[in-house]
């Protein structure tokens, strides 16, 4: 039995952080670099233990800050390695400049971001504001709902990032506390099955790497139209991410029997009159409330946003087209628009879906619990708006 399979190929009760560590380990990264931060620390401790136990065979760089973590993985990626890092909140914003670098270099780095409120009003608490703040760095961003999805998405992220047609860094977001420390039964696949799932990457052309002695320069100045061309290429690659996320998820389903819907997952939306859009751990709670409302006869559905960057415009438009009212639940805020950021983006596709009442709900800041009661209130409000009642566009809960 391989060293990896002593701890994998089984179902175990593990936390979201551990699930991410297992996911990363199973993908055999060459270089891992990370700096501890609550609520991510358990993840990198788990990886360090895997490394110490000979289960994770990699260069594990215990850096002196997140900015360095990002630069280490970017450098190692450009040299040709598979790389992984993880951070949260303050750490994420501390690597802001380096994140632009990684994305611009088209380095297929995979990074976990355990969502936590950013600095300013100090709070060692869950919240998605951190991921919103790096929206335009050019990274792909995905959001997980359960511990199992964290593990599965980590594996899918390597498949996505390193795809020759993509070559982009990927962030996997999951809620601090509510998912990072949540222990659930998680199926940990056999490493050989993960190898097989990722083997398609080996059949693709090799991306350029910085090989010593070959007169190659990485990161040359983009001059004039050269700069413009690379920007367009970056954007085009982002466009290609959307359909390929669906394909990768389907391939994953075939290999491991678990499917997540690709860019978005729709839950009971088909015949729904009203829809709630949300992401992360709140989705799970929302599912139970939707089920209860359905029992009461209310035609309500749910859209789980899995892909945040690029924004799944077409899939989301399809899911929301023809609905009578739409609510969006955000765990963060959007300055300038005075609403939730996912709401703002959803509103931007209203020309695709028709002008119906759209409502923004802000809940779950700083570890505040997004309770069933809150979601029930949201759905009732959306329902009333769909019936022609006047409504308030933005609601803060609690």
């Amino acid at each position: 039995m391989s060293a990896q399979n002593r701890v994998s190929n089984q179902t175990k009760v593990i936390t979201g952080n551990a699930a991410a560590a297992y996911g990363a380990m199973l993908c055999r990264p060459d270089v891992v670099a990370a700096y501890p931060i609550t609520p991510q620390s358990e993840l990198i401790e788990q990886l360090a233990q895997f490394h110490a136990d000979g289960i994770l065979d990699c260069e594990y760089v215990t850096v002196e800050g997140e900015n360095s973590a990002q630069n280490v993985v970017c450098g190692a990626s450009m040299a040709g390695g598979r790389t992984f890092t993880a951070t949260s909140s303050y750490g994420l914003v501390y690597m802001y400049d380096a994140m632009f670098n990684t994305a611009g270099y088209r380095a297929p780095v995979v990074m976990i971001n355990v969502n936590r409120e950013p600095p300013g009003i100090h709070a060692v608490c869950s919240g998605q504001q951190d991921m919103i703040s790096v929206r335009d760095t050019g990274w792909v961003q995905l959001i997980a709902e359960t511990c199992q999805e964290i593990l599965d998405l980590t594996i899918q992220a390597f498949r996505l990032a390193e795809d020759y047609s993509i070559q982009l860094p990927v962030i996997i977001n999951y809620d601090g506390y509510y998912l990072s420390f949540l222990a659930e039964s998680v199926n940990i696949p056999a490493i050989e099955d993960v190898d097989k799932y990722l083997s398609v990457l080996k059949s693709q052309p090799k991306r350029p790497t910085l090989i010593p002695g070959e007169a190659i320069g990485c990161g040359s100045h983009g001059i004039g139209m050269g700069y413009v061309e690379l920007r367009r290429k970056h954007m085009a690659a982002m466009d290609r991410v959307m359909p390929i996320v669906d394909v990768i998820d389907e391939e994953f389903g075939q290999a491991f029997g678990r499917r997540y819907g690709g860019q978005i997952e729709t839950y009971r939306t088909e015949d729904a009159d009203i829809v709630l859009v949300t992401s992360g751990s709140a989705v799970g709670t929302a599912r139970t409330v939707i089920d209860a409302k359905r029992e009461e006869g209310m035609k309500v559905g749910l859209v789980k946003l899995r892909l945040y960057r690029p924004f799944p415009v077409l899939r989301l438009s399809d899911a929301l087209k023809g609905k009578k009212a739409i609510g969006v639940l955000d765990r963060s805020i959007c300055f300038g628009w005075g609403c939730g950021p996912l709401y703002m983006e959803t509103k931007a596709i209203s020309s695709n879906i028709g002008h119906v009442p759209m409502l923004s709900f802000i809940d779950g800041l700083a570890n505040m619990d997004i309770t069933k009661e809150h979601i029930g209130q949201m759905i009732d409000t959306i329902f009333k708006a769909s019936q022609g009642d006047s409504y308030q566009e933005v609601t803060w809960l609690p």
Partner: protein, 185 residues
């Protein structure tokens, strides 16, 4: 029996979070869907800590804190003075308490029975350190009847090995054997 929700109260360093996680592993051995998570800001020794565990035959979707627990586990007897300790306890609720003495009065109208054991004393005997959590899980198995002692021992194997596992098995067994159950109507 369908789903149950348990809230754990302890102080940083006493293993409340570990107890909650371990219970999830135990119930996974019993074939249940499980979910467990703690709620704290900083990890500090002595600071009151809350953790939650859910188990159910059905898949557990919700990711909320637990507001109406079926059972409370109180790892530190001094936490009994906490005003909010019994908040939300369901009628017919159960308390698992680490304490050297029985309760003099029924602390909450909704409390039906309390499994009480001096788990600190047991842990000091068996492990040599004040780690009462495995003893209390053993006591919980007996008091609630929701799961077997055998599953407790198997669940602990996810977290402990070698002599620490052996000592904790003994700790849990004594919890199971020695817990005293107080009942109210």
């Amino acid at each position: 029996m369908s789903g149950k929700e348990i809230r754990f109260h302890g102080r940083g360093g006493q293993g409340a979070v570990m107890a909650a996680k371990m219970l999830a592993s135990v119930m996974a051995r019993e074939g249940k869907h499980v979910a467990s998570f703690p709620m704290y800001g900083f990890e500090r020794r002595g600071m009151p800590v809350i953790a939650f565990t859910r188990f159910n035959d059905e898949i557990i979707r919700e990711k909320t804190q637990i507001y109406a627990p079926d059972c409370l586990m109180v790892i530190d007897p001094t936490l009994l003075s906490l005003e909010t300790l019994f908040t939300g306890l369901k009628p017919g609720g159960i308390l698992i308490l680490n304490s050297p003495r029985q309760l003099e009065t029924q602390p909450s109208q909704n409390l039906e029975k309390a499994g009480i054991i001096n788990a600190t004393h047991v842990a000091l005997c068996e492990i040599g350190r004040d780690i009462p959590n495995t003893c209390l899980i053993g006591a919980m198995a007996k008091t609630t009847g929701w799961f077997s002692l055998d599953s407790v021992i198997k669940g602990m194997e996810d977290y402990l090995t070698g002599s620490m596992l052996k000592k904790n098995i003994r700790n849990a067994e004594r919890g199971y054997d020695e817990v005293e159950v107080q009942r109210w109507q």
